[in-house]
Amino acid sequence: MHPRELVDRLRGALGLSRHRDDELAEELRFHREMLEARHRERGLAPEEAARAARLELGGVEQATEAWRDQRSLPALDMLAQDVRYGLRTLGRSRGFTAAALATLAIGIGANAAIFTIVDAVLLRPLPFAAADRLVSLGDAGSDGTPSLMGWTTLDEWRARNRSFESIAIMGSWLPTLVSEGEAERIPAVRVSAGFFDVLGVRPALGRGFTAADDRPGAPRVLLLGDGLWRRRFGADPAVVGRAITMNDREYHIVGVLPATYEPLVEGRYYQAAEMWAPLGYDATLSQACRSCQHLRAFGRLRPGHGVAAAGAELDAIRAQQRRDHAEDYAAASVAVTPLRDAIAGPVRPALYVLFAAVGVVLLIACANVGNLLLARSLSRRRELALRAALGAGRRRIVRQLVTESLLLALGGATLGVVVASLLVRGLARLAPVSLPRIDRAAVDLRVLLFAVALAVITSVLFGLVPSLRAARMGLRTAGLGPRAAGLQSTLASDSRTNVGGYGRGRAALVVVDLALALVLLAGAGVMLRTVRSLLRVDPGFDPRGVETLQFLLVGTRYAEDSAVLAFQDELLERVGALPGVSAAALAGQVPLGGNGDSWGFHVRGRMRANPAEDPSVERYAVTPGYFGMLGIEVLRGRTFTAADGAKSEPVVVVSAATAAQVWGGADPLGSVVRVGDPNEGPWRRVVGIVGDVHHQDLSGPPTPAFYTPQSQNTDSFLVLAVKSRTSPEALARPLAAAVRALDRGVPVYALAPMSDLVAGAVAQRVFVTRLLGGFAGIAVLLAALGLYGVVSYGVAQRTREVGVRVALGARPRDVLRLVVGGGVPMVLLGLASGLAAAAATTRFLGGLVFGVSSTDPFSFAAAAALLVMVALLAHWLPVRRALAVAPVVALRLD
């Protein structure tokens, strides 16, 4: 069809150009009058002329009709007719329509909400140019992901590889902005010059970093993030070129990043940065050693170069490095991971579980609406038979019914999108902080399309089978199908007509409902038990009543360790004197605080031939009161005392896991160790063994750790932990004030009770558990409604029978037994298939499960028991209603 013709036909079909009808009428009138005039000229009387003209022209109606046909789309016309009719029918049965719409709105809404989150977190490309070529890289860690790397190693990878356009290197930076008002610690990173080129990001103001900036001793420059620029610099465009003081050094601002820049890479490994400075790495410093690993690397693959090939090439380069410097490299392979996986990887399994669960909710919703439709098609049998008798074909009737289903589904989707936008907001608040980009999740066009697609699929799922059945029944009863029963009989039939076919179909859907609900309940149960087991794990310390805050002592004032030590002694003294404080300590980091710092651990007499292969152990620098305050158990020997000072013998305390891993059965006490560089630094004597502490998470075994006195191995990045006799939150302000009283230039941040850190360690699983529980709740509710509908329909059919039985002396219990007896096979089948399905699917919870089997019998049994109770209730309510009808009334029914 010519496009213009199509457009014109569409306009006509949609009634967009009604005036054309009037124009045609005028045209036809003109034509007739011209003819009449000609006939009159030829001598006919006026009436005769009019008659002749009408004869010659043919009927105006037919002409108009033919003309309109040329201006319309027959298929569209029929659709419009179906839609109008469908809307009318749905409007007539308000109860049915409301129930179906609500069910679909919940099903589609919950799905659209989870899709919104999955889309924002997992599916959308990262907001960088050609983001599919961005990868994270480094030696494969124990979990297979790239780990921290050393400068020299990475520098050689950069120089020798052919797979990457460029490789960027990133290191932590903890600067304090001193000028421009109150001292503030700014989240920041140091980056190699090509960092923003790799990401494909250009500054909105000024310039990016050049190779000349990225050299030791180069003039100090930095880039600001848009947020920081607005917050601290009033969005001043003249900020470029300005000098500011960071950690008492002067830096020049060279540019500002665009507002659209998302610090995802920085956030994944360090923190959502607001400031960037060149790495300017000095390769002559001792920390540039090949075995000193403290940098992150990522790169942009050349077009056409795959992840696997790049990994193989880096493997080869690393193998050569190991041959050249055997003592610096342990055997390891290189991991090259797409950046998106590196960023979203940790949360992917949880989101997939939720996506699957919410899909199950939608299936249940479909089963329920299908159930409603089956029930309704029974009452519509007469109408359909009438339509069939009046000449509607099977296809036409099915199309009509499918159109109704589609209308319902689209209505449900519309409401569902509203539900979704509410849900997304709530979920974003519930979500653990580890969900990257959740803040960007919003209902948008993609979500709308997803909801519409769901609507179409669901309408087929719940609508097609009932439609086919209903159409067949309609035709059959109208005498047009096989086994004709005759229109008359149906039109005259009453509600006692046999309903076996519908009953079986509806019972099958209830079985599906129950089975799916059981799967979700069992999954939620397993997760609930997981969270319980995690919270029961002994973290190795007692978080109760402990408040923490972090601060940083940097700058020339704290260049000497003695200044840091003087500060901390003074601080502990002041804090200890605060009312309500029972103990106070300082540490480089606290358990579950999200930081780990592993050092090579070399025991004299137990070092490997290649010291690079000695174990890595986490190091914690602490003050003497630390162990007692956190209730960390002392197993053997002693912990630190005030006598362990900068001048006394260097000492360490090791954890039980370290003792077991490094010494095996031997006694660690008295051994001496060197930490970090195997060739330099003091030998430290092991003076004590303490209990294991879960420093990284609760679900894994405790990682090996050693402790050094803060006085002998001084950290300037410090956590102040204080045990309170009252509520730890009340201490937050006085503690921050105590730090600032000593030095206004010290930034204080991350105030949190220790129990929050423990809660954070289970946050992701709690999130999954809550959502899964919510979905299971919806599923049970829908299943209960479905079951209730079927049972109460069955009971209503038998009201007369119940009346007879009661009149003959049956007790309520007997009636209940009679009805429940009918439902038992249905419920049992539902539970049995549900248990089988749950056993087959809960293992997909995989790594989320902890401390309990993924087919935990207790959870499964509890889920089944809950459903049995729901089923009993669904049976009892209709029976009670039937019993309430007096026997005499029941006998008079119909």
Partner: protein
């Protein structure tokens, strides 16, 4: 339609209308009908239920355009005009028609010889 008068095939009518507009220039529906009746010596009498849908179809395909104008007796009337695309279509269809007519003529002629 009175007996003895020809039923018109759709494609044929299109060609006739295009040719008429080519000959007469701008013309209203009545004028087109009159012209066809004249040329066919009253063999062809167009029902308005055939003519106006055909005019609409030709316009939808972009072969003719229409606008309101004033008729020779000062009445408002819709005038149809051949477009450039319509002229091309006319040439194409006329050529096809002549080729087909020639084939038919040869076929019918030769059939006459053998029988």
């Amino acid at each position: 339609m009175p007996a003895g008068k020809a039923d018109v095939l759709q494609g044929t009518l299109d060609l006739m209308v295009l040719k008429t507009l080519d000959t007469l220039g701008s013309q209203h529906g009545y004028g087109i009908a009159q012209r066809l009746q004249q040329v066919s010596e009253d063999l062809l009498q167009l029902n308005q239920g055939t003519l106006y849908p055909a005019l609409l179809r030709l316009e939808q395909r972009g072969w003719i355009s229409s606008k309101w104008g004033t008729s020779e007796n000062n009445r408002r009337a819709r005038y149809y005009t051949l477009t450039r695309a319509g002229r091309k279509q006319l040439e194409r269809e006329a050529a096809d028609w002549q080729r087909m007519a020639a084939v038919m003529a040869r076929l019918l002629g030769s059939a006459g010889e053998t029988s």
